[in-house]
Symmetry: C2
Subunit: 109 residues, 2 copies
């Protein structure tokens, strides 16, 4: 992080997931996981496009959208994102177990 | 959220992004956005598979991986995820502006 992040919002994943749940859960459940996943894919495409040729502001918006759709699917699937992250990345890289990954470049992490 | 979430970790997006940066940034920058995006796509495929036929535990792991790879690309692109989320969803649905979305079902949100 930079030295200018004192004023940045410190959004918790639990709070964000709850907010997205309040905002969209009723519609998400009607759509189901498959229908909601299609929207996630559309947003992933828009993120790819913004990474290729978007402004910084457009990229920020697309990252937010992908994260929101991922979160909304987690809500329908009954997955707690904060817990999932803690379980998988809380003690280090899932590949090598280190806090600074030492897995070979050609391997996944 | 349920009533049993007192013990759940309250991971902040800023802390998680910093942790992923410490863990992977050096390798991410070498890979670049394009190469890193390919790994995100692989994880999205694994998430789809887990949603179709995985256990709850496998789904949790795949959600964590997609979020981690999204975060790692945000690091390379210089995007602050917490700020991006706050800017786009902090005051309500980007479509209708409400805290409980009232956009028509056929529209994106």
């Amino acid at each position: 992080m930079t030295t200018s992040d004192q004023a940045k919002p410190d959004v918790s994943l639990t709070d964000f997931q709850a907010k997205i749940r309040d905002m969209y859960y009723e519609k998400d459940v009607q759509r189901g996981i498959d229908g909601t996943f299609m929207w996630l894919m559309e947003e992933v495409g828009e993120l790819a496009s913004a990474l290729r040729q978007g402004t910084h502001e457009e990229r920020c918006g697309e990252f937010a959208d992908v994260l929101a759709w991922l979160t909304t699917i987690a809500n329908v699937a009954g997955v707690d994102l904060g817990q999932a992250i803690q379980d998988k990345y809380g003690t280090g890289c899932p590949g090598c177990g280190r806090l600074v990954c030492t897995c070979p470049m050609q391997e996944k992490p």
